[in-house]
């Protein structure tokens, strides 16, 4: 077919080509070992029949069906389908509804032998029902045979997570902290991002409160009023502010000196960004909560006081408005009728 020179040239050319092919082959070979799910691209079988699927499809444009055949998956691309519908309905939507707000996560521990638990739960839920979304209510309860709490919660229509624990406690304060820790662990485990606030069942809220705490970046605190039945005093707890800067604290009734030093902040008078729990780097801390201690609530309380530069007063105008009350009612004593 050709001269010796030509064949020599050809041999050289083939050698080069074969080396290239081999290289590519080896490359392909190793890519094959890479553990990906995408490898299925090369093992597709003929596209699946679409007809039985599309028979029930409510809003599938005809053209789309033809497109689907060329789809790698050979299946409906739902996204295309849905975005179509979205465009048409978008015009009707009031855009102001879609202004994003920050998530509020409310943590409410409940005590089993709290006589007012169910009633207070209903009253609080009536308030929380009015809080604009996004809003998540984490209610913690000790496991029991009674489904009352879940029934009350179910009827509220509020988005909630109902956490149940088994442990028994004798000290109600320890129990409350355990419940709060449980809720915080849930938030941490799920990496839920929002403003966390501990709402006791006996708290009463002004709705404005929930708008204000959404403004919190890291930590926020506010004054709250503690009122008691037949009491003469209204006790104000919380920060004293210069505009939104916290310059001091209202002091609570501290007869007990040991208690005095522990924490001047009532559990319900502060809120914090939940990412403090699971994203320590973001807030310039070295370790996560899990690393330091299992007692998350203790950690949070400590942080509130230590991180005063990140602590803002709520509402920002001098935090002088009370939007949260805590009602202290002694349990009813039914005199023995004998």
């Amino acid at each position: 077919m050709g001269t010796a020179e030509r064949s020599k040239k050809k041999v050289l050319l083939y050698k080069k080509a074969i080396v290239h092919f081999l290289l590519c082959f080896v490359m392909g070979f190793f890519t094959g070992f890479a553990p990906t799910g995408k490898s299925s691209i090369f093992s597709t079988s003929p596209p699946v029949l679409l007809s039985n699927r599309s028979a029930f499809s409510p809003a599938q444009p005809g053209e789309l069906l033809l497109e689907e055949r060329t789809e790698e998956s050979g299946k409906f691309n739902r996204k295309l389908d849905e975005s179509e519908g979205e465009n048409s309905s978008k015009e009707e939507e009031k855009e102001e509804d879609l202004i994003p707000r920050r998530l509020i996560i409310l943590v409410t521990p409940t005590r089993m032998n709290d006589r007012l638990r169910e009633v207070n739960l209903r009253r609080l839920s009536n308030t929380l029902r009015l809080v604009p979304p996004p809003f998540l209510w984490v209610v913690v309860e000790q496991k029991s045979d009674s489904s009352e709490v879940s029934e009350i919660l179910r009827k509220t229509g509020i988005m909630y997570r109902h956490l149940v624990f088994r442990e028994n406690f004798t000290d109600p304060e320890v129990e409350m902290d355990h419940q709060r820790n449980l809720a915080l662990n849930h938030i941490e485990h799920h990496r839920l991002s929002g403003i966390v606030h501990f709402a006791g069942l006996s708290n009463v809220y002004d709705l404005q409160f929930f708008d204000e705490i959404r403004a919190i970046e890291v930590f926020g605190t506010w004054p709250m009023a503690i009122v008691s039945a037949n009491g003469k005093k209204v006790i104000i707890e919380g920060p004293v502010c210069d505009s939104s800067e916290v310059v001091g604290w209202h002091l609570r009734k501290m007869n007990n000196l040991t208690e005095t030093k522990s924490s001047p902040v009532h559990i319900s008078s502060f809120a914090f960004n939940s990412s403090v729990l699971w994203d320590p780097e973001r807030w310039g801390r070295l370790s996560s909560v899990q690393g330091t201690t299992q007692n998350t609530i203790k950690f949070v309380k400590k942080e509130v006081l230590e991180e005063e530069t990140k602590l803002i007063g709520i509402p920002p105008e001098g935090c002088s408005k009370i939007m949260l009350w805590n009602v202290q009612i002694a349990p009813g004593t039914t005199p023995n009728s004998t």
């Binding site: 050809k10 290239h20 092919f21 290289l23 082959f25 080896v26 392909g28 070979f29 890519t31 094959g32 070992f33 490898s39 299925s40 090369f42 597709t44 079988s45 050979g74 939507e93 879609l98 994003p100 707000r101 032998n113 006589r115 007012l116 009633v119 207070n120 209903r122 009536n126 308030t127 979304p133 509220t156 229509g157 008691s228 039945a229 037949n230 009491g231 003469k232 005093k233 209204v234 006790i235 104000i236 004293v240 310059v247 001091g248 209202h250 002091l251 501290m254 000196l257 002088s320 408005k321 009370i322 939007m323 009350w325 202290q328 009612i329 002694a330 349990p331 009813g332 039914t334 009728s337």
Partner: protein, 497 residues
């Protein structure tokens, strides 16, 4: 399948190339430039094909190498979850076998994790709108079909607990999915404090003033409140409001089901009220041990009593006998505040009963509003409006379901609170720098002062004393002078507003 096709095309291409290459190499044929481009393309194609082949081959090798070892390595590992959909206890490891007949690959897949952050806040709002839409639809589908308007009557007066109680009732009413009018009757005349509070509800509010001041004695209070409610009923008559009249006292807590339940009433209905009594001693809260015995006693209930065939046979009334002599006489007594035998809150009325004109369907057994409620007369319950109490329709599964609760909690009559709950930090009370930042003296609300004294812990000693602060202190001084020592309605500092 696809692979073999590829392979074939590859082979044929090779064959082609062979043939094609022979002719361009002929000196008499096309020029070199075109030739080299063609070669390059061909070369690239072949490289690609060999890449694919290599990939494919590796899969085969992978399979051959690892699948023999994949025979059940961990026999009968029982999964702990109750939720395993399929009861496959064992799996083989690391096999990626392409099932020839299914498009879906059997074997390990990548776990797809998207790189962008989430959730998208706009999508969250969209989802909430969907939830809202679904809930509204549920109400349309399964709720009351032709709801009647609701007229809520609330007697109130300005005091420490007013904001709390009224806010609670207000939030309940704000959740009512029906057309609602709220008649607020205020003892001592309308005040800005109350008006400001109820205005924020966004509800249709009729704010009525009542000339008399709220007395301190509980008995007197009940009487006055009854007359205030009658005043509200006259408003209903005057404005000829259509709907269901309910008595939402600010000492009530409501289950939202109540508002659906009262839609069933024809003329007069009664629901059960759970009575929550409290000892009235604020100090008791601190001791926990004594709570067990409380748990055992059932909550007292007021309301209609039915027989087994759901006929109204009588009333559960509050038994105050055990409390004889122990009940609170006046506001602030450290004793249990007791309800009346039957509270107004347990009754609902069709507003047509109150209208002046006889619309034809107004029943005979109702007294005219003008004939009842004279100054001396004590209207204990709405039953006084009826000539025949047996016409009352028991609601809430014939009274078996408790849909609202009564809990009367008040601070002492002389307790003070900051006006509109805005703290005016009294700067004249300063913490001397020598003192410990956490003094053990409790900051209290002095009874002769209208503001709450607070002590300030100065984190930064020697902070700026601003002119603003001195202005404030002078203001609070003024306040102190103006406030009266023993008024029951205190802290609305009229001097300031």
């Amino acid at each position: 399948m696809k692979l073999s096709a590829l392979h074939q095309s590859y082979l044929s291409r090779r064959a082609n190339s062979f043939r094609a290459s022979s002719s361009p190499l002929d000196p008499s044929s096309l020029d070199g430039g075109l030739k080299s481009i063609f070669w390059l393309v061909l070369h690239g194609l072949c490289c690609l094909v060999s890449l694919l082949l290599g990939f494919r081959f590796s899969r085969v090798v992978f399979f051959l190498l690892f699948s023999p070892s994949s025979t059940p390595p961990t026999a009968l590992l029982h999964s702990t979850s109750p939720f395993r959909p399929a009861s496959l206890p064992v799996q083989s490891l690391n096999t990626t076998v392409a099932t020839p007949s299914s498009r879906v690959v059997v074997g390990r897949h990548g776990i797809l994790i998207r790189p962008w952050p989430h959730p998208d806040p706009v999508e969250v709002m969209k989802a909430h709108r969907i939830i809202d839409r679904v809930q509204r639809e549920q109400r349309v589908q399964y709720g009351v079909k032709t709801p009647r308007p609701v007229i809520a009557v609330t007697p109130t007066y300005v005091r420490t607990f007013q904001t709390l109680h009224l806010t609670g009732v207000m939030h309940s009413l704000m959740n009512v999915p029906y057309d609602l009018t709220w008649i607020v009757v205020e003892a001592g005349g309308t005040t800005n404090e109350t008006a400001w509070l109820v205005a924020r509800s966004g509800l249709r509010v009729v704010h009525v003033g009542f000339e008399e001041e709220m007395p301190v004695s509980w008995d007197d209070r009940h009487r006055l409140e009854a007359r205030m409610r009658l005043r509200a009923l006259r408003v209903v008559r005057e404005l000829k409001l259509e709907g269901i009249v309910m008595f939402a006292d600010d000492s009530n807590m409501h289950s939202m089901e109540l508002f659906d339940e009262i839609q069933k009433v024809k003329w007069v209905g009664a629901v059960s009220v759970g009575i929550l009594v409290h000892s009235g001693d604020p100090e008791e809260e601190s001791s926990v041990a004594q709570k067990d015995d409380v748990e055992n006693s059932p909550m007292p209930v007021q309301g209609p009593s039915c027989n087994s065939s759901d006929q109204l046979v009588g009333w559960h009334t509050f038994n105050s006998l055990p409390y004889e002599g122990k009940g609170a006489k006046s506001v602030g007594d450290v004793a249990t505040v007791l309800p009346r035998k039957l509270e107004w809150a347990g009754f609902v009325l069709n507003s047509r009963l109150l209208w002046k004109e006889n619309e034809g369907d107004k029943p005979e057994w109702v007294k005219d509003l003008d004939t009842v409620g004279g100054d001396a007369e004590d209207i204990e319950t709405p039953l006084s409006l009826l000539k025949d109490p047996s016409v009352v329709e028991p609601l809430g599964s014939c009274g078996r379901k408790i849909l609202l609760w009564w809990l009367r909690v008040e601070a002492r009559a002389d307790s003070k609170f900051p006006a509109r709950w805005i703290i005016d930090t009294p700067m004249e009370v300063t913490v001397p720098s020598k003192r410990t930042p956490w003094p053990d003296a409790p900051p209290e609300l002095p009874s002769n002062e209208t503001t709450i004294t607070t002590e300030e812990n100065r984190e930064k000693p020697g902070t700026k004393t601003r002119p603003r602060k001195s202005k404030r202190s002078s203001r609070s001084k003024k306040k102190r002078e103006s406030s009266v020592v023993d008024t029951q309605v205190s802290a609305r500092n009229s001097g300031e507003q």
